[in-house]
Symmetry: none
Subunit: 417 residues, 2 copies
């Protein structure tokens, strides 16, 4: 079954507001096995709304229309629907008295404007709004079930959860989509696509299975989907997912919505390890990311964010000779930072970054974009060199990710031993 | 002149990704006086793309098509455009060699897949991608100028800024909208709205002027807009903007796209001051935010991110008696951290945070959500106490902002003296 989402609102078209409602609705509908085939946004103008109604009603099973139900003169959704479907508006006394109660509860008096929100489509089902004054509506035209909801996110969500999603489930009980996202890092999209090509070729034979590559600055997400048509679909899906995970090898680190931070903290906790950071070019980003996770203080001791060379001497005893001889961005300094902070704080692991992130800087030994990462443990020190692009913020993100990934791989490896 | 934005991508329709590209494009185009009349999103399927091309080409002056230019099998935008407009695809040797250089620079080998990105529409203008492998395109059909851009946000933005927006300006030079966004922090939306009410009443008389309140977790942005209809509009607009700035008082910190980090770093540079941070609950976020700005190393020395109490003793000599007597989240510990890091590193300013951010934790003296902030300088130590909500990430953002804002206000105040 197909759904189309129609958003009405000038504030979206001028870029004042991000259209997050359609993302939320799309995810919910997709989870129920509904195919969302189109998102449309038009302004608060009758001719534009009427035009898209003409092209969508009858073309889908569900049409959800959001926005333009407010009390002011620029909200024209109800009048437009009334004229387009030739259904008169009817004053709903009961709804208006409910609006009055809402205002009373908030210690305010209802304005005359709000009475406009009492005019609803005759014979359509009213979808009550339990946290605002704009009522929703539900009616049918041709084969399309049409729902009208307010643009205010929590009011829309409440109506979707209470009324619309249960209705959709009732209409479409059988089909379900199995969905799993595998997270990888440390490998680019193209290299991963090359490696997974045999798998992609194989699933192409099955129209019920799809695989999407979703790259971002720091990772590539693989979304595997399968239409669940038979009772053994779930086992088949698990088999495909496991095959994919094996092909990803060490570049796989978890399933969405897990994060690399969580994976690392869980592994460190299970080993009762302590982590110390010494950050130069990442400037606190690694510590910031890890401290987003509740309970991180069990394993993360802290971070020495040392942005100036004198502090590397003062805090970690790195000699000015070593700095001068190798340059601040060098394997030797990364090693000294990782090892220094681990020993200073008595940690299991010391993780360090040093690099030139730009937009300017760099020297002959370490040109702009060079980043050295080091991980120290009782077993020794591992280092990695990277060369990132010149965009400062993206390079910083990639450097932090590369450092976290070095630690993750070392934790994985040691758990296999 | 009218623009329509067409997004192509299953990941948007299934709700995996928020369509933030269209908001960004809409804002930029609106600023140039272009009416964005519609947003459309369809999946990576030829028939869906062809259907919306039919309904939009010829109906607007500018059509911007974003997404589906990647190297994998599910990216079908170019093939679809080729068939729809009956323009063959041509292998662009030069572009492929550019892609190869991009891979080489990153120390990787181009995969076979990427060659697909060399097939471009014959006779269309190539819009170079300066940070990725998918080239953009520009061509005309009927009265509509058609631009094709990648879905990756920074690649799209770069093409918009370098090529598309300048082209649009050239086509539509006359109408202009004057626009300025004033940034405030440390005051809530309602309190600010109350203070600005007389100003809002005054501008309501002028239909060419609008003021919007755009609140986020850490600040309230005020967007002032005016249609520029006469030669003295610019002076009138500057007058209104200045009036608004005065009303915001000390809560105003700059004009968009400036940030509080930039304002602080500029002020510190002009005073040749050095800043040291000691972060507990903000976990490196303050350092991370400041190190996003190029050149911050001139004034930011670093940050001691001390997530465990033993480190507060080890690094800053804060006695266990003081910790036990007052608790780690207390005015005394915030003072000792700010003063301690300043003296240890010989800094002009020491800025410190300590708090319980949840989702659990807190004690009788400092319940969940309590944050203490301290700023130390040669003049003495200033402290502030906050009580934030229990959402960890939002509370952390607010704590970092509150700390930066305490420093900003102290810099402003001293510059007035």
């Amino acid at each position: 079954m197909k759904a189309i989402l129609l958003t009405i609102g000038d504030e979206i078209l001028i870029g004042q507001i991000l259209n997050s409602n359609t993302q939320w609705m799309s995810e919910k509908l997709t989870d129920l096995g509904i195919e969302v085939s189109e998102h449309l946004t038009v302004g608060d103008r009758e001719e534009d709304i009427a035009r898209v109604l003409k092209s969508t009603v009858g073309e889908c099973d569900f049409l959800i229309i959001g926005g333009g139900l407010g009390p002011t003169h620029d909200d024209v959704t109800m009048e437009t629907l009334s004229r387009h479907f030739k259904v008169p508006l009817q004053y709903d006394e009961e709804w208006v008295s409910r609006i009055e109660v809402i205002f009373k509860d908030r210690g305010r008096v209802m304005s005359e404007n709000n009475k406009k929100q009492g005019y609803l489509l005759k014979d359509a089902i009213r979808i009550d709004n339990d946290c605002g004054t704009a009522a929703g509506q539900h009616f049918q035209d041709q084969k399309t079930e049409i729902f009208v909801v307010p643009g205010v996110p929590h009011e829309m969500m409440s109506m979707m959860n209470r009324y619309i999603l249960p209705f959709v489930v009732g209409k479409n009980p059988q089909e379900k989509i199995l969905k799993r996202s595998l997270l990888t890092t440390g490998i680019g999209e193209s290299a991963l696509a090359d490696r997974l090509d045999p798998f992609v070729q194989k699933i192409r034979a099955n129209p019920n299975v799809t695989l999407a590559f979703l790259p971002s600055t720091t990772q590539v997400k693989l979304r595997l989907q399968m239409k669940s048509l038979s009772s053994n679909a779930s086992a088949e899906f698990d088999g495909l997912s496991e095959e994919l995970r094996r092909l990803c090898g060490e570049d796989f680190f978890g399933f969405d919505p897990s994060t690399i931070e969580e994976v690392i903290l869980t592994a460190l906790k299970s080993k009762r390890s302590k982590l110390a950071l010494a950050e130069s070019c990442t400037g606190g980003l690694i510590a910031h990311r890890l401290t987003q996770i509740p309970g991180c203080s069990e394993v993360l001791q802290g971070s020495l964010v040392l942005y100036q060379n004198e502090l590397k001497q003062l805090e970690l005893g790195i000699s000015s000779e070593l700095l001068q001889k190798n340059g601040a961005v060098s394997e030797e300094i990364a090693r000294a930072m990782a090892d220094g902070v681990r020993k200073k704080w008595g940690s299991t692991f010391g993780l360090a970054t040093t690099g030139y992130l730009g937009p300017t800087g760099g020297d002959e030994r370490a040109p702009l974009g060079t980043v050295w990462i080091a991980l120290s443990s009782a077993k020794g020190i591992t280092t990695r060199k990277f060369r990132f692009e010149s965009d400062r913020m993206r390079a910083k993100e990639r450097a932090a990710q590369a450092a976290l990934d070095l630690l993750r791989r070392s934790l994985d490896a040691s758990s296999i031993v």
